[in-house]
Symmetry: C2
Subunit: 212 residues, 2 copies
DNA sequence: TAGATTGTTAATCGATTAACAATC
DNA sequence: TAGATTGTTAATCGATTAACAATC
């Protein structure tokens, strides 16, 4: 908002830059040129310089970029320097796996609550969090003010629960439902993850290679 | 290969068309115009017609598209009319969730084997499949000839296991490892899924909205 | 200073949108 | 036949790449 709107293509590359710079840092790199980074990432040096220049001048002519300095800058742009409370709806197979597999802290979030409707699951612990009855959502949100939510619930309940969550102050959705969330409210962010679409793309890749 | 190469942007939209057409079909739609489909999907009618015309003439002037006919055509393009055997490496939280959560059949695959190195997991059942010791991989592949693999293994073993799988005839990877697989062999397909990057993007969206 | 590499402008490429003749 | 909507060409827009002057 402060600068001209950054294009979506650039934003989507930032997490990958952040990851690569982290690896370089662990491997002892102190500086890196756009040319060398491009080689490692399979991009062009031009693109890398254009991307970084959307946000400011992070490099130094004749030297390149300071690896850890650049990583920190990108981390700040991505908002990884602050964490935001997040809740999970749906503690089935996928929900449980997400809750235990993802490193929320390093992605700018903190998982603070897990909710489900199934009595067999309510009360069980996932990591350090006890699964609550989804009817507790109102109480919980009024007390703890989470601003983001993961949706691992059945497709059919997605629309209804989304509306409910928006009314409770949720402003960002990480959606694993088999349903394309398209929010018409202002200032609400949605990241749809369609694992099925991803696998389907692989089917195309493998089968169109070897025509019969 | 038969036609001029289809651009990646088009391919990535096909699974979504396929999903929407399936829903329309369930809801009793027989025909649909590009204009109406565009509205429902949040695209332009132009784009939809351009996309479909990459593969042939699926519509009829003055009428539009036959919903189930069009869906079948796209299914065939995506290779969903045949299934291909797939194995899973790594039966931790995420691997188990993928194995039980994904409908492989409808995506053109059949899950035929699950492998892990952890003795606590080997021998356990996930759905109808018993987890095998990863040392059995050679035997299994020589007997069953899977052509695709899901990687839910730790980052560090990804490179080594990928090489091993390629030698065993695997031609497509669905990669959940925190590592960008870039295969230099010909005719090997990779679909990298970076859940962490997806969540990181959401951090950006939510935090850049409200500058401090 | 000379060499290296950025920041940035200009050129190219590809993808999306608009327009319309063909045709059901 | 008249109306609707496709298939397809042309125009626009945006993203990537190339080039180079600025500068460390």
């Amino acid at each position: 908002m402060s600068k001209d709107a950054i294009s979506n293509s650039v934003i989507r590359r930032l997490p990958r830059y952040y990851r690569f710079l982290g690896e370089l840092e662990s491997n002892g790199y102190v500086r890196i040129s756009s040319r060398e980074l491009a080689e490692k990432m399979g991009l062009t040096a031009s693109q890398i310089r254009q991307d970084f220049n959307c946000f400011g001048e992070f490099g130094q002519q004749g030297y390149g970029y300071n690896v850890s300095g650049l990583r920190d800058e990108i981390g700040k742009i991505l908002g990884l320097d602050k964490t935001t409370p997040m809740i999970l709806l749906g503690a089935g197979n996928l929900g449980r796996a997400i809750a235990s597999h993802i490193d929320f802290q390093s992605k700018g979030f903190e998982l603070v609550g897990i909710f489900d409707a199934n009595p067999d699951i309510i009360g069980k612990k996932i990591g350090s969090i006890t699964v609550s009855n989804i009817s507790e959502l109102e109480n919980f949100c009024n007390r703890n003010h989470p601003v983001s939510a993961i949706l691992c619930i059945p497709r059919d309940s997605a629309i209804k629960e989304t509306e409910r969550l928006i009314n409770l102050g949720i402003r960002a959705f990480w959606n694993f439902t088999h349903y394309d969330l398209r929010i018409h409210h202002e200032n609400i962010a949605v990241e749809n993850v369609h694992l099925g679409d991803s696998l389907t793309t692989l089917s195309y890749a493998i089968k169109s290679d070897y025509p019969d």
